[in-house]
Symmetry: C2
Subunit: 729 residues, 2 copies
């Protein structure tokens, strides 16, 4: 690719970005678009759906940028929780890394590369110069200038490791502070027990009761057996939906809309009063819910939620093997009620194990099948190949503009479209793996999407650019450095285009929210009701984080190969920092809190990027006939991996379990009281007695909003009153 | 190697075995040898050192074989503990595997191999036939007979996996039964805490006390800070030695020996009454012990043993992260007092981490350096090479007997001598790694020796037989099967000789105990005192288990390549079964109990052997031009690894931690009472009160016999009285 093709691509994308930014700053001020651009504020009641229209709102302004910029980390933490803060730390970390790398790369490495004569690109015109003349390929073989690259690799590794350590420590401390400041939640006192061995003749509930009263006599509080109630769940959610609709109808009291035909699309059938019609349907639904509830007892699953009187009790049951047979009485942390997501819940150990294997095979198959679109994209990037495939296109392809668009812009656009299918598929696969909470599924999907991206974008592009022989390369580990060193620098231009197309454009469309905007628009046109299905979205970590980290990988690996990539990345991260702060402020609301559990993924990926960079460096120095530099680079990946090992020992346990000190902070007083009465009085009494009452939740409501499973209300309601344990007074 | 060379080697070793057996059955009946051949019985007082001599005892008998054979597993368990039972299960498992493999190999595979014509070995004389004509190399390329080998590989894998599962389940159940039947030990209620963060101005003891009373208020019992007292320890052990000597002298009351010169070797200096002399020295020693003890307070190490009132309390402290910083308050199970071994004890996390890295590097270096003797041994096996190295030896080497001895016997003998240095080195490396108990060190050394043996004997022999290019082979994973398939069958004869030399001979010398016999003999001649340093040995698992498992690996990998190896192995395991039962009965006494923790090593090694066999099979079928069989073998290693994964989930946790039910079995009543008085009365009182008193040990004595570290006696003695917890009544 020549410089002008790159500039075409940058130009197109810069145009799109500016267009989106302008449109955003205009559209977000239109009253009808508020639920699209600030759903979070609407839901919190901070922003009303104003009806007026004024001309001023048609002028594009940059007020949102300053608002997003001014937001402090404490505010972000209080608004969006720790996960969002950790997400923003990825940008801060990346901006720091690429600010440093950019200065070194552009001021030192780029001139050295450009002054080399290896490629002997004679065109004196800068714009038609191949991008390769800015890469390390242009440095003469055996030149002493390569020692500058060698030093740069060492310095960058040091800086990145220091920043990684700093961030890991910072986020760990944030996480601990988060533990101590957050109120104790009922799910923290609860574990999920699966694979309960049922002796013949006794029910699951009895078995659980007797096991835990025997083995956890001092801390056991109560339990509730899991029941398979997909039908009931559907009925309840239908009822809830109808209820919301009714409330909305009653609120608006929109008489012309009140009478509608009940047939196909509201066009045929007799006209009825919808309010009346809906109320009747709701009553019928409630009847069937009651009917279904009474027939529930038989649908027990050998799994149960078990609650304990103290955090320590729950942790003990979690960390210590319960049954003599380790595949029975398998314990697991109970997820937050709003986080439960278990379409593929299975109580048996063997079934979960098999489904994990199946998912593994499915992932591998998907990865292999995806090579097909990648190969096609690569065909587009190599115009000559396209001409041999479709000879009739020759005349069109010879036009400069067409060829520049095709080689510079189209391949990454197509790749991006294909890639957009991957995150939902991975979410599906992860949920099939048997996780019971959406946070676990999302984390697992995030890792899957990340490796998929690295394999199918980085390696497939790098290696199929020369031939589709990836797998065979990895079967000869000693040849990996030289193969990568030969193939990687050549793809620098493609990846610069990819960053611009996929990165910049995705950021601006993230801001502009094109799909929700269009959906909202069409819904308003066709159904006439706007706020009917209003829901605040949550940030899709599993598709955003892999993309951000993949760009980081590109930046680190191409740092000394083709430093031209660094300014584009720096711009990407700066833009991302502002845009995502804005979105977190206005659009997304956290669905659940994991307490920053996603950070280790960022850490590992960065370590992987560094080691990949080192391997390529070893290969490059070998190819460039500086064998001493190649052998002196070998300690670098070893030191990096040792650093990673140390970090894993030092910080990772804090992301897996609570420390003892925290577990001792709260104990639960149990109060039994009659069903639904006196809850408030009871709490007031507790508070008067001087308890540090921080938690008052009736347990039977704990897992009420789970999908496909439902918890039956018992006769009595248990109030959990947590208090600080004595020694903290 | 030809058949007659093999027979020479077998003959020599069979001769040695028979000689040793005969000598053993005569010598063990001689009164003076009883401490050598039955030290365990002597220590238990079952066998007296009889003074008489009768002629009958000079006749060799086989009574010891029947005695060893008749011993039941329950008897073995009660005499030697679970570890010995698990050790014997290795032989039972191996005998079963190789009985089956031997029948299949000799009756089905061997005739097929022999009837092939690939190698066209024309010598009609059976004894000069090359051993290769009994191996798979002799089967014609592309022959359909190879499908029999294919089926045999599948059937053997199935049988071995079934037996592995059966044994794992059996040993797990034994382990659980062992938990429930054994009395609770003080060390089970205790953990070792390292890396204690010391706030400035407060002592370690205060920090530990405040931390555990705060975080484990209901279960914390007491603690004792670790002190670095190597000088005190030396003094105490000197005093103990003197005390023993005195007791011995007083007992024998041997007047002529009572007066001796005190100078060099008892030859010069003035004559003194040794009893008097020793008593004076003991008094002086006791004075210095007291002096040293009073100056101990300053030598605290930031580590402590912490005891809890219940097993559950100890398990909670063990499994739950204690400090907010995971590298502080690191907990670990306390070892049995007699098992403590901590020359290289270090309380700091970083130091231990670095020493682990150093040991890893040292292991790798040792493995590489060991290739030198292996290469020399291989030179001996290839006579031609030896002749080119040392041309003057040509005339001697051409003698048939010499060449047969050199190729058949000498190489494995030399290799064995070199190998005998490895276990002690590995023990040293493992103890440097920072383990605090000998059982952990031995287990770690066992694994190290095992991999060392597999790498340096199997791979180095197989691959350096053609060239010393092992490492490069493993850098090209796709070529491993074909390289192994080419190299492995050729070394069958060497490994048969190795089994006979190293296996058979080591077993018979194990029975004969040549080294202790000679030591004892020389000691009696030179010093005149026999029973002075009498100590019952414990079985050296770290050198025995790797050898036994390595033979298993040879048997499984050569099963279908060269079935001629199988009868030799079968004989080895049968002999081993009888001999080790005899030794466990008479010689070895267990130093400590791990509850069968060594079994997982056996399991993993067998799985590795199976997978190695499959990889070689894939290569062989490829080489032999039956590509369909090669591809149909590929599922076999995958299925085996899945089976291993399942076993790991199903059984391994039982070898790592106690289940909840067991932890609930005992709680401790704490009684404080004045120093050294009323212990017995107190216990009697407890028993009268109806407590199920099973444990009465004064805690300060708990870790008294540790090496290099010593626990100061406190003013009060704590009596631990364990009782079954209520719910088991």
């Amino acid at each position: 690719m020549i410089l002008s093709a790159l500039l075409t691509s940058v130009g197109i994308n810069l145009g799109i970005c500016l267009l989106y930014f302008t449109l955003y700053s205009i559209l977000r001020k239109q009253p009808g678009n508020i639920p699209i651009y600030a759903p979070r504020l609407v839901a919190e009641g901070k922003e009303q759906q104003r009806g007026e229209f004024n001309l001023e709102s048609l002028l594009p302004t940059a007020a949102w940028v300053t608002r997003a910029w001014r937001l402090s980390e404490e505010e972000l933490l209080s608004i969006c929780g720790l996960d969002a803060v950790v997400f923003m730390r990825i940008f801060i970390f990346s901006v720091r890394v690429f600010a440093f790398a950019g200065v070194v790369g552009i001021l030192i490495l780029l001139p050295i590369n450009y002054l080399g004569t290896q490629l002997s690109d004679d065109s004196s015109d800068l714009s038609s110069k191949s991008l390769d003349s800015f890469s390390i390929s242009n440095v003469n073989d055996g030149s002493n200038w390569l020692w500058v690259h060698f030093c740069a690799a060492y310095v960058l590794t040091g800086v990145v490791c220091y920043l990684l350590y700093y961030e890991y420590r910072y986020i760990s401390s944030k996480r601990i502070a988060y533990f101590y400041s957050s109120k104790p939640q009922p799910h923290e006192f609860t574990i999920l027990v699966r694979s309960i061995p049922l002796p013949s003749g006794s029910s699951c509930s009895e078995t659980v009761e007797s096991f835990f009263t025997e083995n956890h006599s001092s801390t056991y509080l109560s339990h509730s057996v899991v029941r398979r109630t997909s039908k009931l769940q559907t009925l309840i959610s239908d009822a809830e939906k109808l209820n919301r609709k009714l409330a909305h109808l009653k609120l608006t009291n929109d008489t012309p809309q009140r009478f509608r035909r009940v047939g196909f699309l509201g066009l045929f059938g007799r006209k009825v009063d919808i309010l009346d019609h809906h109320e009747k349907r709701l009553e019928a639904l409630e009847d069937s819910v009651r009917l279904e509830q009474s027939s529930l007892a038989g649908k027990e699953v050998p799994a149960a939620f078990v609650s304990f009187k103290s955090l320590l009790g729950a942790a003990t049951a979690l960390h210590i093997q319960q049954g003599v047979n380790p595949t029975e009485w398998v314990t697991e942390r109970a997820p937050e009620p709003r986080d439960v997501h278990w379409q593929f819940f299975s109580a048996s150990f063997i079934k979960r194990w098999i489904s994990m294997l199946v998912v593994f095979v499915a992932c591998a198959a998907l990865t292999i099948l995806f090579l097909i679109p990648v190969a096609i994209v690569q065909g587009l990037a190599n115009l000559d190949q396209l001409e041999t495939w479709f000879p009739f296109l020759e005349s069109i392809l010879n036009l400069t503009v067409v060829s520049q668009v095709i080689t510079g812009y189209l391949p990454s656009l197509i790749l991006q479209q294909f890639l957009s299918f991957v995150p939902p598929i991975m979410i599906m696969l992860s949920s099939m793996q048997g996780y019971i909470s959406f946070s676990q599924i999302e984390k697992s999907a995030c890792i899957k999407v990340l490796w998929f991206t690295i394999w199918n974008i980085f390696f497939a592009t790098v290696l199929s650019g020369t031939a589709l022989y990836q797998v065979s390369v990895f079967l000869e580990p000693d040849k990996i450095p030289s193969v990568l060193a030969e193939a990687v620098p050549g793809q620098a231009s493609f990846f610069i285009a990819y960053i611009v197309t996929s990165g910049w454009a995705s950021l601006s469309s993230e801001l502009f929210r094109l799909t929700p905007l269009l959906c909202n628009y069409f819904r308003r046109i066709f159904s006439g009701t706007a706020g009917d299905k209003f829901e605040v979205p949550s940030i899709p970590y599993h598709s955003e984080i892999p993309r951000i980290l993949f760009f980081g990988l590109l930046g680190i690996t191409y740092f000394f190969l083709a430093p031209l990539i660094l300014p584009f990345l720096f711009v990407y991260y700066c833009m991302g920092y502002i845009i995502f702060r804005n979105q977190l402020l206005n659009v997304y609301a956290p669905k659940y809190q994991t307490g920053g559990k996603l950070w280790p993924i960022v850490h590992y990926t960065t370590i992987f990027s560094l080691v990949l960079m080192h391997i390529i460096a070893i290969g490059i120095f070998g190819l460039k006939e500086v064998p001493l530099a190649a052998s002196l680079t070998i300690p670098l990946p070893i030191l990096t991996l040792l650093f990673n090992e140390y970090c894993q020992n030092r910080f990772l346990p804090m992301f897996k379990a609570y420390p003892m000190e925290f577990l001792q902070m709260y104990v639960v007083c149990m109060l039994l009281m009659p069903h639904q009465s006196g809850l408030k009085e009871c709490l007031v009494q507790c508070l008067n007695q001087g308890e540090d009452c921080v938690l008052a939740l009736s347990l039977p409501l704990l897992f009420v909003d789970c999908h496909f499973l439902h918890y039956m209300c018992s006769e009595e309601t248990i109030v959990l009153v947590a208090r600080h344990s004595q020694h903290h007074d």
